[in-house]
Symmetry: C2
Subunit: 430 residues, 2 copies
């Protein structure tokens, strides 16, 4: 009798778990995701900054799992999990499981101020990447159109809240775009006058990196025209900008790269989560009291032997997904589960077209070599061969032509008759 | 004193007019479009069918006109035109003109039944292409999830209203996708059971082509599994399907490729339009009584010497745009305007991956040679070199791998907190 494995989430953790169990003849795998595609999140900021298109970093889950006859994919939403009956309740019916893998990922959060979301989109999925791209390009169009210098300054001001890798990548991209790429496209504005702020509550950006690399990254950002504000927690966000204690920046575009919290389904299950909603797991990645339920990826909170909790990063999710698959296979073969051991692959962040920082244990380096390493690693880990080819070609083209990316503003509303087209100038709230 | 030319619309006609006037030192050109990009509309159906991405067929207008120092681009909406004062009133201010070029294009229309739009999106812009792609892919997901055979049949039924080239291209694409590409991606459905209907009110599809080619195209469609219904005017469209007189088809997805009407701005100007709202122009493409106002592209109704009105096609728009540019230059040099002469480049339509029909005067052919001709012509006319390279590569890849296009369903709502995510399973109206 085949064991039924239900995997919730088709990101790195869920996908790797499914692949590990693929084509084994003693398991039937069902993977559910509310999206129909797997997203290569490390490159999401490139879609937001119009360097890549949606199809370059996402592939339908069906494509990626088609070769495994024992894997079924559904696009759907998991409403809750009944741990006692071992049932997953979805919007298309109930699924029984012998093993459950939760890999629902994380979403950004606003520290309780959900009304800020409208003014400051986050960057966790493709729709947000497109929304950010739209807002950034609309700001330049608005600046070009206006005769009011105060309005122009506001449109040419961008605030990125959060100094982690995502914030740094966004800020660096806008810096490079404004200082290099956009200059000849406008007649009434000088894009090089764009003000870009990266606002970080802690005393330095890139807190997970060493002080040395964090400092080098700050200098690289400044060289691209980015103003780095540390020890600057945001106290309010509204349609006109951000408030940082007694300081204020008027900006038409604010981007949120500050907080993440795990998918809320953990809280509904009555199990222990950490402050960000991540589910605490044992050394075999299962939840206490339920060895048949695993959690991996950003949704999981795994503490290593030396007391460190693993961060929400792609390599962690991939390894956890593989490990969960092996745990299940060990069970089926009657072997004991081996504790999960994370093989630290280091971390990196990129700033603009040829700057990056890389840390791998005690090895730290920046500059062009770091950037090239960053490029190779990301190409290597891209999910399909087709993506590697097309992304490499787009980067090569952009690199040599200084970036003719797809800077398209696509209207959110496709209707002609069902909306008031005349008032539809901007796709932003009033 | 430089003459001020205002061009409304950045499609084929507007773009070609701008390029003709580019870098002339006696004109200042201002081009306004509500979009920031130029769209290669003939390939829009490929984005709708997930064969190409948005960035493959669209380029920001600024990129395309950056080399002309005398051309300024604004993203904005023209609210009305004051012919007496020679002013264009936009949502960012008024613009005076010495010459005005209207090239606002066309939109689909529902013969007075605008409430049908919600159930049957058209295909005239990128947002609609993405919406169509979403609906088609969602239908397959819904079919895979359901246990109800009636619901499954409805989800696996697609109705395309309109048997012109756009409708034929959409229907042929879904036919090919269902019979060839999707087969191995689903476990509970056989995509080859997809029903596809192309519903045409006239007595044959492709009425602008010869009877012989129209008949060959019908056979090609049928070989891809498409059911062709002629003499079948749609009497109603609702959320569950279409009514054709006493006949009814239950379909989850209806696509509208039936009627176009010109941009409504013509009607507000108090000038003569035809039944579709197209503005009637003289032999020099200007409007009667206002030789300084030109109309080109789908918005114009030009009648040739032998009484034929030119259709709303890309080659017509390109030639009209060029001609309008030359009329203005003739004026500036004190030369008489020469009547516009359309050089008929024939017409073509494609059905699936290797079938097409081409008509050029008396030369008519179909099959693989026609398809190859279609491919070369479209690659040639693509707006930028970058597009030619990337589109050709994508087509080559799809051709040899049977179509791993970007079949992504991207949620329209990017918000996590501002919407009811649980009910957000489908992006279609209830």
């Amino acid at each position: 009798m085949k064991k039924r494995v239900v995997i919730v989430g088709g990101g790195f953790a869920g996908l790797h778990a499914a692949r590990t169990l693929g084509n084994r003849n003693d398991v039937d795998v069902t993977l559910i995701d509310r999206k129909n595609y797997h997203l290569f999140q490390p490159l999401l900021y490139q879609v937001a900054m119009a360097a890549l298109g949606e199809g370059d970093i996402a592939t339908p889950l069906r494509n990626m799992l088609a070769e495994y006859d024992n894997v079924t994919v559904y696009k759907g939403i998991v409403l809750n999990v009944d741990l006692e009956s071992k049932k997953v309740n979805t919007d298309f019916g109930d699924l029984d499981y012998d093993y459950l893998v939760l890999a629902c990922g994380a979403q950004h959060h606003y520290f309780g101020n959900n009304d800020w979301e409208e003014f400051a989109p986050g960057l966790k999925n493709l729709a947000q990447a497109t929304e950010i791209r739209r807002r950034v390009m609309e700001a330049y169009e608005a600046a070009e159109r206006t005769n009011d210098p105060i309005e122009r300054k506001k449109q040419l001001t961008f605030v990125i809240v959060g100094g982690g890798p995502t914030g740094v990548e966004l800020a660096g991209s806008i810096g490079e775009m404004s200082r290099y790429t956009l200059s000849k496209f406008y007649r009434h504005i000088d894009p090089k006058l764009t003000r870009i702020f990266i606002v970080e509550a802690a005393d330095r950006i890139l807190g997970t990196f060493s002080h040395e690399m964090s400092s080098k990254a700050t200098r690289s950002l400044e060289q691209l025209g980015v103003q780095v504000w540390t020890s600057s927690p945001v106290s309010n966000v509204d349609v006109n900008g951000v408030q940082i204690g007694r300081e204020r920046i008027e900006a038409a575009t604010v981007l949120w790269a500050a907080g993440v919290q795990a998918s809320t389904i953990g809280k509904t299950m009555g199990i222990e989560t950490d402050r960000s909603g991540r589910i605490k797991v044992e050394s075999d990645l299962s939840i206490p009291g339920h060895p048949e339920v695993f959690v991996g990826g950003d949704q999981a909170c795994y503490t290593t032997d030396d007391g460190r909790t693993l961060p929400g990063m792609a390599p962690v999710a991939m390894q956890e997904g593989n490990a969960i698959g092996k745990m299940i296979l060990d069970d089926l073969k009657g072997r004991p589960r081996k504790p999960f051991k994370y093989r630290d692959k280091g971390q990196m962040a990129t700033i603009g077209r040829n700057r990056a920082i890389v840390e791998f244990g005690n090895l730290k380096f920046d500059g062009a070599v770091a950037w090239f390493t960053w490029l190779l690693v990301h190409i290597y880990y891209l999910s399909t061969f087709r993506h590697r080819v097309f992304v490499l070609m787009q980067w090569a083209w952009s690199y040599f032509t200084f970036g003719f990316g797809a800077r398209l503003i696509v209207n959110k509303d496709w209707r002609f008759y069902g909306s008031d087209r005349k008032s539809c100038t901007y796709d932003r709230p009033d």
